[in-house]
């Protein structure tokens, strides 16, 4: 399946992916009304220190611990993509406790939130990759783990 891949050598640390993610998932029509003056809640986060920066978002693991441990069954797979039914989520954050990459995040409304590859929002393909100015984030097919 196509996934989001990150190459930290090319990451500029510009945080554009975070803004594009927050906008894509905001439901708003334009970026200014979606983001200006607001606390943003992106599902991808740029981490790092000094010269090292890289973006982290859901890896859509082959055998995701978050899905196994979800107490409500809100987390599930749809054609390989790990999705969350935020209406089922009760906000216990067991997924946050289990994700080895820190890629499932507490959302502003209490329910957990995570990258769903923009398949469910108006963007249609990952906004982080589409807007990355240096191709440090790409969305493509690569060889799968065994």
């Amino acid at each position: 399946m196509k996934r989001v891949y990150v190459n930290e050598d090319w990451c500029l640390g510009c945080h554009l992916c975070e803004y594009n993610c927050a906008f894509a998932n905001s439901g708003a029509r334009d970026m200014v009304s979606a983001l200006k003056g607001k606390a943003i809640h992106p599902r991808i986060r740029v981490e790092g220190e000094g010269d090292i920066t890289y973006a982290v978002s859901c890896r859509h693991c082959k055998d995701p611990l978050c899905i196994r441990g979800c107490i409500s069954g809100a987390l599930h797979k749809e054609n390989g993509t790990v999705c969350i039914d935020r209406d089922k989520c009760v906000g216990c954050l067991t997924c946050v406790l289990l994700c080895p990459y820190g890629a499932v995040l507490p959302g502003p409304d209490g329910a957990a939130m995570k990258c769903e590859l923009c398949l469910k929002n108006s963007c249609g393909e990952p906004a982080c990759a589409a807007g990355c100015p240096n191709r440090a984030i790409v969305y493509e097919e690569r060889e799968e783990a065994k």
């Binding site: 981490e47 216990c92 946050v96 406790l97 690569r142």
Partner: protein
């Protein structure tokens, strides 16, 4: 065609069916459960009382799970006798089910010490099943004074769930601190303050010595008048049919890393089992939902001829009370990091060069990075632990690790 029988319709049982179906689309699966409903996360029952979920949304793998996976589901049917030599399970209906492979996912049952006068209490409940939650919903009114005995996970989640439904909620526990089994004094103190500020009455280091109708006589000499009593002292693995069949039982049904028991073709998974706690280096009852799911799936795969192992078991818990998040994991060995404020705390524990446990109150973000270190027994000298102690991130793992995880499929 193989015949599979699963006893228990909670998370381990449902995950076992998933595990079987991941390898065997043909075999016949029968799942028997004493409950009238199944396939729901037990920890949801407090959220149900709180109004954060409802019966429809509580379905763990969806209402069509059994149909989709071609599982013969037998609700309200108890398993009464296991004959491992004959490979036969006798049900409460008198029927005998023959199997090739069976998995016991019998869970646990609430435990209550003998309180003098308990039989004089009219409205008394446990809090482990949906039926318990529905009965409490029916009984508790805005005028009810609720007394909960036990300030562990179950008692406190019940208290939170009932808070806005009841007139008052009092929680008592013999232990001096809330969630004594999972937290230390610092973490408990933050939690207790938060619970009290949200309207709960706590009576810690104090428990009921006897009941007299609607009055509880406390160890301290005080009395508590109540209308509804919830006993939430703890649970014990349900091992009866396995023990009667001659199986090897410790604190729970003993299983190996393939979820096999001492009896041939008998597997077990979930809260009824005792298995290796890798953070403690010894067996324990790792009765939490994520383990039940992982163990159940593992058992199912192996029942269908696969080679799955569950060998990273630890105790772990994520829970919130009135907006305060608390996570705990593993075994509290030697403290290696500590941060305590009025509203949150963080403690890390390590031994023999690996992280063995942590407690987080308040800021719980990215806690899974710590959990993975414990489960994988990652040698701490292979990463920058000083940086990682302060904040969980992938930075301390180094470039090669990140390239593999973020640049590859995992």
């Amino acid at each position: 065609m193989k015949r599979y029988v699963i006893v228990g319709g909670s998370i381990a049982g449902v995950s076992c069916a998933e595990g079987i179906r991941s390898r065997d689309g043909e075999g016949e699966i029968t799942l028997v459960t004493a409950e009238p409903v199944s396939n729901y996360g037990r920890p949801l029952i407090s959220y149900y009382l709180e109004g954060k979920t409802d019966l429809r949304r509580m379905s763990w793998r969806g209402e069509d799970f059994y149909e989709r996976n071609r599982v013969n589901i037998r609700h309200a049917t108890a398993a009464e006798k296991l004959d491992a030599a004959e490979k036969q399970l006798t049900l409460s209906t008198g029927e005998k089910l023959s199997y090739d492979e069976i998995c016991l996912c019998t869970g646990s049952h609430p435990f209550s010490p003998r309180f003098e006068g308990l039989e004089t209490v009219e409205h008394r409940f446990f809090f482990t099943t949906l039926a318990d939650a529905l009965a409490l919903e029916e009984t508790v009114t805005k005028e009810s004074r609720v007394l909960i005995v036990g300030a562990g996970f179950i008692g406190l989640k019940c208290a939170e769930g009932l808070k806005d439904r009841a007139g008052s909620v009092t929680v008592c526990d013999l232990a001096a601190h809330a969630m004594n089994a999972n937290l230390d004094g610092d973490a408990s103190a933050i939690l207790e303050k938060h619970l009290i500020s949200n309207g709960l009455r706590l009576m810690l280091g104090n428990t009921v010595t006897r009941f007299e109708g609607q009055t509880a006589h406390m160890q301290s000499g005080e009395t508590v008048d109540f209308d509804v009593l919830v006993i939430a002292i703890g649970v014990r693995p349900e091992t009866a049919i396995f023990a009667e069949a001659g199986g090897d039982v410790g604190r729970g049904i003993k299983v190996n890393e393939r979820q096999e028991t001492s009896l041939p073709s008998v597997y077990a998974a979930g809260d009824c089992t005792e298995s290796l706690d890798v953070s403690a280096g010894e067996p324990g009852v790792l009765a939490v939902l994520p383990n039940a799911s992982m163990q159940g799936f593992c058992a199912g795969v192996n029942m269908a001829g696969g080679g799955e192992t569950f060998d990273k078991g630890i105790k772990l818990n994520s829970i919130g009370f009135f907006g305060l998040h608390i996570m705990s994991a593993g075994t509290y060995t030697e403290p290696v990091y500590e941060e305590v404020t009025d509203t949150g705390c963080k403690k890390l524990f390590a031994k023999d060069g690996v992280l063995t446990g942590f407690i987080l109150v308040g800021d719980v973000s990215r806690a899974g990075i710590y959990t993975a270190l414990i489960r994988n027994r990652t040698p701490l000298d292979t990463l920058d632990f000083e940086t990682l102690k302060r904040e969980p991130s992938l930075l301390p793992f180094g470039r090669a690790y990140r390239a593999e995880k973020l640049g590859g499929a995992v």
